[in-house]
Every structure is written in structure tokens, then in C-alpha cells.
Symmetry: C3
Subunit: 212 residues, 3 copies
């Protein structure tokens, strides 16, 4: 009962962030799938999984099943719209410039990191583990996609994605406990993740490898 109600009450801010991130990640997923030479259906599936996989895993983990992405038809519609639009533009010979894809990826990452952490807190996940749900929301879809495409997920290889998401989520959780208020905390968390990701791409940042 508690669950059902809480599920329906996902706050407006989580929904808005989720919607924006969903569309951006669907575009990014479709671009990756086209590059991977999948068939038409595969491209839509990959766009769908990239966009909604992270949020679905988050919702299952925090006890918000059925996940918003399955309960609310607008998520699926946004993912299909993002994927379909990308396919059509690709057919017309239009491909987004590299810097636009980089911006888009960073924005989607930061939106999902913040939305995932916020929703976890709303479901009473403690502040110490809530950022984990932010990371899962942000990199979960891409990770499931990489697993399906038989790649070692970027999150375990060279990528700074998870680190940026963790930083943004942690900034948000810490600021929330200060006098800043939830809105400022979310904006600061978004900005931290977004900037870290862009700087990492620009300067080819990588975490140190341990093995000698």
C-alpha cells in the first residue's frame, strides 16, 4: 500500500528530469546502435534500453515496482520518439556534430544522476547509499546496452562516467543536509556531474590503473 502510493507520488521534479534524460539517452543509444550496424528493430531496442534501463533497475531496487517507465506510457513514447527521430535524421544523411553528442551525453548523465539520487531519497534509501542509485540510473542503461552488445561496459573500462555521477550525487546529498535546500542541491549536483564529464572528455582524464 505504502509502496503503491509512494510510486504514484514520484515528485514532479524527478519526472521532469527523467523525461529530459530519457529523450537524450534514447538519441545517444540510437546513434551507438546505428554505428554498431544493428537492424531497425535492434536500434529501437537499444535506444529504449539505454534510455529506460537505468531507471527501471533503480525503481526495482528501491521497491517502486512496477517501474515508472512501464507504468507511465510517456517514458516509452519519449524513448521511441528519440530513437525514431535519430533513425530518420540518419536516413536523411544528418548526423549530429561530435561536440553536440558530447554535450548531450553529459547532460543526460547529470540529469539521471540527480533524478536517481532524488528518487532514492524520496523512497527512504539512506544518504550513504542513495548516490549508488543515482549512479545506477545514470550508467545502468548504457551498461545493460554494452552487456547486450557483448562489450565490457564502459563503466568498468576507461570511462569517467560513473565517477562524475558519483561526484554529482554526493554533492547533492551533502548540500541537501546544509541550509542550501533541495533545489540548490540538485542544481549543484547537476553542474558538478555535467562539468566533470565535459572536462574529462576534453582533457582525456582517466583514473589510474592499479596493475603494474
Amino acid at each position: 500500500m505504502t509502496k503503491q502510493r509512494a510510486g504514484t507520488q514520484q515528485s514532479l521534479i524527478v519526472t521532469a528530469l527523467d523525461f529530459a534524460g530519457t529523450f537524450l539517452f534514447a538519441v545517444e543509444g540510437a546513434l551507438a546502435a546505428i554505428a554498431g550496424r544493428l537492424d531497425l528493430f535492434g536500434v529501437l531496442v537499444v535506444a529504449f534500453i539505454t534510455a529506460l534501463g537505468g531507471g527501471i533497475v533503480r525503481d526495482v531496487l528501491i521497491g517502486a515496482a512496477p517501474p515508472a517507465a512501464l507504468r507511465d506510457w510517456r517514458y516509452a513514447a519519449l524513448a521511441i520518439a528519440g530513437g525514431g527521430m535519430t533513425i530518420m535524421l540518419w536516413h536523411l544523411g544528418l548526423q549530429p556534430p561530435v561536440f553536440a553528442v558530447t554535450l548531450l551525453e553529459a547532460a543526460a548523465l547529470a540529469l539521471f544522476a540527480v533524478a536517481g539520487t532524488e528518487k532514492a531519497l524520496e523512497y527512504n534509501i539512506p544518504p550513504f547509499t542513495a548516490p549508488l542509485l543515482g549512479i545506477i540510473t545514470a550508467v545502468g542503461g548504457g551498461t545493460i546496452r554494452d552487456i547486450l552488445l557483448n562489450l565490457i561496459p564502459a563503466v568498468l573500462r576507461v570511462d569517467i562516467n560513473a565517477t562524475a555521477a558519483l561526484a554529482g550525487a554526493s554533492v547533492m546529498v551533502v548540500l541537501r543536509r546544509s541550509a542550501a535546500g533541495p533545489r540548490i542541491a540538485m542544481i549543484a549536483g547537476f553542474g558538478t556531474c555535467f562539468l566533470l564529464r565535459l572536462l574529462a572528455v576534453e582533457f582525456h582524464w582517466q583514473l589510474p590503473v592499479l596493475s603494474s
Copy 2:
């Protein structure tokens, strides 16, 4: 509370379709695992996962945890019986003819597509996303198996499986809203998926690849 009750109330028709699909998929999974040179335990594990993986994921996603496949011992018994029987027949030198395996796969696919969509609707998943749960039920087990065997899941490569499941599930959802009634809708959905899958195998249908 709602959940617990609803979970117990999985309709008879879903249970019957699930049982039939479970046995068929366990046979198919065991055949694939034997071909993949797994050990005895591995063959049973793969038969189990192929048969029950899709339904377990569906139940977790629609909020029906613990999944029927874990709550009701008959699912596990059917999966082990299907896998064990296949191993024994293989030991006796008996392998099913190719056309029988094709029929069996198509029937299991269609049974699970219909059962998964029906159960999702019973759990108040909206008609627009319910077919997704049908697809997940139908191809989820095989996809988990392929991931464990380190293959790119068939669903993302050449296979028409997911498309056939989507078509069957969509026919079912649309007919349900007409005057046809749920029973006719299910039979039509089953027939659509079953025939599409057989025709796709017979005529080597494939969806177009996008990349040039």
C-alpha cells in the same frame, strides 16, 4: 497487501500458458546447452534459465515478487523435467528432428508472449507498455542465457523473435479492446506470433540493417 493478493491470483489461463511454455523452453534450452558443450549441471542451469528467466524478470518488473517461478514449485519441477528428459534422450542417441525444434520454439515463444502480456494487463500495466512485458517474457530467458554464454543475444542480431512476439502481443491488446473478448484476443495473438515466427524461419526473413 494488494501485491501479495494479486500475486496469488495469477489467473488460471496465465498459469496454463506459462506451464506449457516453461516445459518447451526447458527442452530448447537444454538442446542449446548440450550443443554448447556445457557440463551436466550447466545444461540444467541453462534449461532452467531459458525456461524461467523471462517470467521471473516479468514478475519482478510488474511488482509480482516473489515471482511465480520461485513461489510455485511446479515451475522449477517442469523446467528440471524438461531439461532432464532432454539429457536422457540425448544419452540414448535420440535427437529431435530440426522441424520439430522449430515448431517447439515457435510455440513456446507465442505462449510466453501471450501469457506475459496477459499477466501485465492483470497487474494494471497500461496497454501501450504491456506488450513489452510479453516480449520480455518470451525472449528474456533466451537473452539471459546468451549473456551468460557470452554471445550477443539473438534478439539484437538477426532474429525475428522479438518482432513476432511484439506483433502477437499487439494484436492481442488491440483485439481485447474490441468486441472480440479476451479468449479470442489471446488465440489471435498466439496465432500471429506462432505463424510469423515459422514464416520467418522458412523464408529467412530479416529486418533491414541500417548502417551502410
Copy 3:
């Protein structure tokens, strides 16, 4: 409601076994990740997943979402402590001897097999399928890790892990129904799994491969 309460009531014995297994598996996961040349963050992620992945999947499947590993910060702290300690020791040039790693793996496996089966029974999973949850708890984390590292999971290849976990869990379930009482049943289940695993490593036991 039922769920929420039951989730909070996870018995003390499950928590104690889970804690011990979590720390041991985090050490083992970190050692594997260092050998796999992951970066610093990757090593911690792999330690975390190896330690907590199985229990998280178990909790989602038995309807105990959010999983204890996310609801209770001590699990995450133990996993990070185990992973971090391993990294520091590795940096100091200290690597555990092979037999110690073997003992550690066997103990973690047996702890999780027993804890997973016990928790499943507490959540009213029937005795016939409860051992499956024990296996998932015991080998789930390592399986998710192998999937992420793009390896065929050990559970499907040569390993006796899942068989030992199944044996331990089955012994426990059977003894529980006798006059032995739950405590004796758990100790016997732990011992069975622990010894089988050690013997399998020592004598290079493998299950027979079916294909000719």
C-alpha cells in the same frame, strides 16, 4: 506493509552471515579486479558487485525490495572497506597466499549459500526452490562480475561453486525438517558447502561434460 515489516525483520543470523560473507567476497572481488588490470574505481566497483550483487538479486526476487544492501549502510561500508583494504595491501606489495584465498572463497561461498537459503525460507519461499536463492546469493555477485568483465561466468564453465552451494543449501533445508533444529541445519549446510568446495579445488573435481 507486510513487505516493509518483513524486510526490516531480517533475522540476526542472516545479517551476521551476510556481513561476514560481504567482507570476504569484497576482498576476493578486489583481488580478481586488480589481476584484471581495472582502474581504481573499477576495482572498488567490482569488489562492491562481487560482495553485494548476489544478495541484492536475492532480495529483489523474494520481494524484499529495497534490498538490505541498499537499505542498511553497513553492507556498502563493509564492501568498500574490504575492497579498499585489499588495494592498500596490494600497494604495499602484500598479496595473500593462494591457500588463504582458497579458504576465503570457500568460506564466503558457504556463508552466502546458508544466509540466502535461510532468508528465502523466512520470506515464505517453498523449501523446494529456497536452495535456488541460496545459490543465487552465493554465486550471483561473481556471475554479475564475470558478465561485466565479458567472461563466460564460472558457474557455467568448470566450476563446482554452484554445485557446492546447492549441496549445502539442500542439506540445510532437509535437516531443518528433521529434529535437528535450524541452528544445527545451518552449521551442517555451511560445512557441506565449505568442504565440498575445498575438496573440489584440491582434487580438481569437475562435472562431466555432455557433448561428445
